[in-house]
């Protein structure tokens, strides 16, 4: 079936359905916070021109990674 890879999971909170993207955004936040802490610890940010811009870019990459990468690793066609 063409839709077999499409598993949109809408989390539920006190009877409200939340958008799936919110869940992905929260999942992406975990590696982001860890990476940001590590980069700050190792002094990597000294080489970064605009720290907030770098952080946003990093988060967007991780966010994309969660959306497209995790299902691919787990053997699905992806959430989208």
């Amino acid at each position: 079936m063409p839709t077999s890879g499409l598993t949109l999971y809408a989390p539920e909170l006190f009877g409200f359905y939340l958008p799936p993207v919110l869940l992905w955004a929260l999942i992406a936040l975990v590696p982001f916070l860890i990476l940001r802490w590590l980069l700050a610890r190792t002094g990597f940010y000294r080489f970064v021109w605009h720290r907030p811009l770098f952080d946003v870019a990093l988060y967007v990459i991780l966010f994309g990674g969660v959306i497209f990468g995790v299902p691919a690793v787990l053997g699905g066609a992806g959430w989208l």
Partner: protein
């Protein structure tokens, strides 16, 4: 013990004044809600949100904010209606013209100070709300604009009424109390600076407290002048008082450092003359600090300060008379110490004079106001333009997202974004404050949801609802009245009471509640991200102050092109304008404050040197030496702003110029007891002061006051 620890971790002000403030604010919110119900206005929550956004512990602040807010709201609502009438069916020109209006409001608002700025920002905000919400239903736009305006005005009227009627605390009274306290603290600080044995940590901690106190006084001054017309006339004198405070702070610090160095050196006769007079001065300052009635008799205090200054002058003359008999450098340092102590006393008596002029109007006729200091806007033109561009960018981005996703609650996201945009104006670190605001808004919304689900169904009648709201709003009011939690309290109280579901008929709609809450918080969060991506702070203004000081003001003082008092006045005025924007917990900004004050005093000493070199009694050798030094030093200072990466070596060159001049002056033969010798010592004291800057304020001189 646990209570004490809790108080330490979360120090809410639980004094009776703050409790009264919390209760009266909650009552104002409930009354505003009742009036909005009675007039059957749509969305009465705007009236209560207004009450909380306006909550201020002093009456003057509420009145001032209220007037500007009414004018701004009316202006914004009319502009929103005009834009709607023109483009209600065309989204692109609609958002475009609202964005342009917002940019204009931010551009003007950022350059104004205090509530004028507030009025302009509100004009932008109201136009945005009326325009965008009205576009969804253009036939209701007039109603919407009318209801919104009426609600905001009800909120303003209620909060203003309670803060003026219920135990009003006028900013003018507080100002007077604070002034007396600050003067005492400052005298104490001066006394500490003059005591040789004070440990550095104690001195530094006290200095920090003093700077904060002066910043707070300056903020209160700006409230107070809005409150009463008679105070408005005195704003110039009050501003001068703040500048005088800053000068005293700077002098005291230099004095402390100099005394600290002086201890190590061996110069017995100098110390023998210096020590008693400094001890007497410190004792006088301590006495003034302990005297709670000092301000009731300013004449007596001024006479005492005057007597102490003549004692210092007598000691200076004695030291100068020692020239030629004792080593030159310690003598010059001793003279410098006495001179700075005299300057400190002069600063304190200037505060007394200004106090007499501004707060005691019956004495005003006796004192002529100072010449108008140059007006420095809160933000420069370029900074204001950047702020305007940033707000437009944020609004357009959010509107594009709203349109692209056809999001039903997009409007709430835009209003959340607009609320956070207001914090960004003239805030150097909007992220920190904005995040706290976002967090407490979220907590308020969650609390409102809980109340809506668990409490409201059991409540019948407005009286019971009012009672519940007053009790539930108390913590928020207590927070709003505690300075360090003011914005958190306002966010918590405001969003709790406005989200609790206050339409005229109680119809809990959980789905729309959750949707609107999420979109509001999302808009706030997105705005915070944008603010961090596009930071606008006072760094550029700091750079400009530095460049102007180094490239033009100090050389002008060294060359005698401008009187040194004018130069000092201009530097301190530029600094005073930047003061509210400096976060002194960041090292770079603290360095900037200290360095600028030091530079102001350097200007004073350079001017003194320049007049000294023309003195007929000075030996021709010394005169030529000083003239050479001044010309070279002025040129070196002028070259600093263009030095680029080589600035450290240029500063080192300038430092060696000062030290070379000082060393050369020390080797000149002196005839003991002559006038020429005394003048040499005076010049040595000035040079010593300038040389000290290179040790104390090096970070400032090498222009490293940017990122901490």
């Amino acid at each position: 013990m646990t209570a004490a620890r809790w108080r330490l971790a979360f120090p809410l002000d639980l004094g009776w004044r703050n409790i009264v403030f919390a209760i009266r604010t909650a009552v104002a919110a409930v009354v505003a809600l009742a009036i909005a119900y009675w007039l059957e206005l749509q969305d009465p929550q705007w009236a209560v949100l207004t009450v909380y956004l306006l909550a201020q512990p002093t009456a003057g602040a509420a009145l001032a904010k209220g007037v500007y807010r009414v004018v701004g709201t009316l202006l914004g609502a009319s502009v929103g209606l005009v834009i709607l009438a023109l483009y209600s069916q065309a989204p692109v020109p609609l958002v475009g013209s609202i964005a342009l209006w917002l940019a204009l409001c931010f551009f003007i608002g950022a350059q104004m100070r205090n509530y004028t700025a507030y009025g302009f920002l509100l004009a932008g905000y109201t136009a945005l709300l009326v325009g965008l919400q009205g576009a969804a239903d253009p036939t209701q736009a007039w109603h919407l604009a009318f209801d919104r305006t009426a609600e905001i005005i009800i909120g303003i009227a209620c909060i203003t009424a309670v803060s003026v009627l219920v135990f009003p605390r006028y900013a003018g009274v507080m100002l007077r109390e604070q002034l007396a306290g600050l003067f005492g603290q400052l005298s104490h600080y001066g006394a500490i600076a003059m005591r040789p044995a004070t440990p550095f940590a104690t001195f530094a901690a006290l200095r920090r407290t003093m700077v904060e106190a002066v910043v707070k006084f300056d903020a209160l001054r700006s409230y107070a002048v809005f409150e009463a017309p008679d105070m408005r006339a005195d704003d110039a004198t009050l501003k001068r008082m703040v500048r005088e405070f800053l000068r005293v702070l700077a002098i005291a610090r230099g004095l402390y450092v100099r005394l600290e160095d002086f201890q190590a050196e061996d110069a017995a006769p100098i110390v023998a003359r210096l020590r008693p007079v400094m001890a007497a001065t410190a004792a006088l300052l301590d006495r003034i600090a302990a005297d709670v009635h000092a301000f009731e008799d300013p004449r007596r205090i001024r006479l005492e300060l005057l007597a102490a200054r003549s004692a210092l002058r007598a000691a200076t003359r004695d030291l100068e008379a020692m020239a030629g008999r004792v080593p030159f450098e310690p003598l010059a340092e001793g003279v410098l110490i006495l001179r700075r102590a005299g300057d400190l006393l002069r600063g304190l008596s200037m505060v007394m004079v200004s106090e007499a002029a501004s707060l005691r109007w019956h004495l005003r006729a006796a004192i002529r106001p100072e010449e108008q200091a140059p007006v420095v806007p809160a933000a420069s033109n370029r900074e204001a333009l950047l702020l305007a561009v940033r707000s437009v960018l944020a609004l357009v981005l959010m509107s594009v997202l709203w349109a692209a996703t056809e999001w039903t609650d997009g409007f709430n996201a835009v209003s959340g974004l607009a609320i956070i945009l207001f914090f960004a104006v003239n805030q150097d670190q909007p992220g920190k404050l904005g995040f706290t605001f976002l967090l407490w808004s979220a907590i308020g919304i969650v609390a409102a949801y809980a109340a809506m689900v668990f409490v409201l169904p059991w409540i019948e009648g407005y009286e019971a609802l009012a009672l519940f709201l007053i009790v539930a709003l108390l913590p928020a009011g207590l927070m709003a009245g505690t300075p360090q939690y003011a914005w958190s309290g306002i966010a918590f109280g405001g969003f709790f009471v406005s989200e609790i579901g206050t339409s005229n008929v109680f119809q809990p709609d959980e789905l729309s509640f959750v949707n609107s809450a999420f979109s509001l918080l999302f808009g706030m969060g997105m705005c915070l991200v944008l603010l961090n991506l596009f930071p606008i702070n006072s760094l550029a203004t700091r750079e400009r102050v530095w460049t102007r000081t180094m490239a033009s003001l100090l050389p002008a003082a060294a060359r005698g092109q401008r009187h040194e008092r004018v130069v000092v006045g201009e530097i301190v005025a530029m600094l005073a304008a930047l003061l509210p924007r400096l976060s002194l917990d960041r090292r770079g900004e603290e360095d900037f404050l200290r360095g600028t004050l030091g530079a102001a005093s350097t200007g004073l000493e350079l001017g003194r040197l320049n007049r000294l070199r023309r003195d007929a009694d000075l030996s021709s050798d010394a005169s030529a030496l000083i003239a050479r030094f001044l010309a070279q030093f002025a040129a070196e200072l002028e070259s600093l702003p263009k030095a680029g990466d080589a600035i450290a070596s240029r500063v080192a060159e300038a430092q060696s110029t000062v030290h070379a001049a000082l060393a050369a002056l020390a080797t000149l033969p002196l005839e003991p007891g002559s006038v020429a010798a005394a003048l040499n010592v005076r010049a040595g004291a000035s040079l010593r002061f300038v040389a000290d800057r290179f040790d104390i304020d090096r970070a400032f001189l090498v222009r490293s006051f940017g990122e901490a």
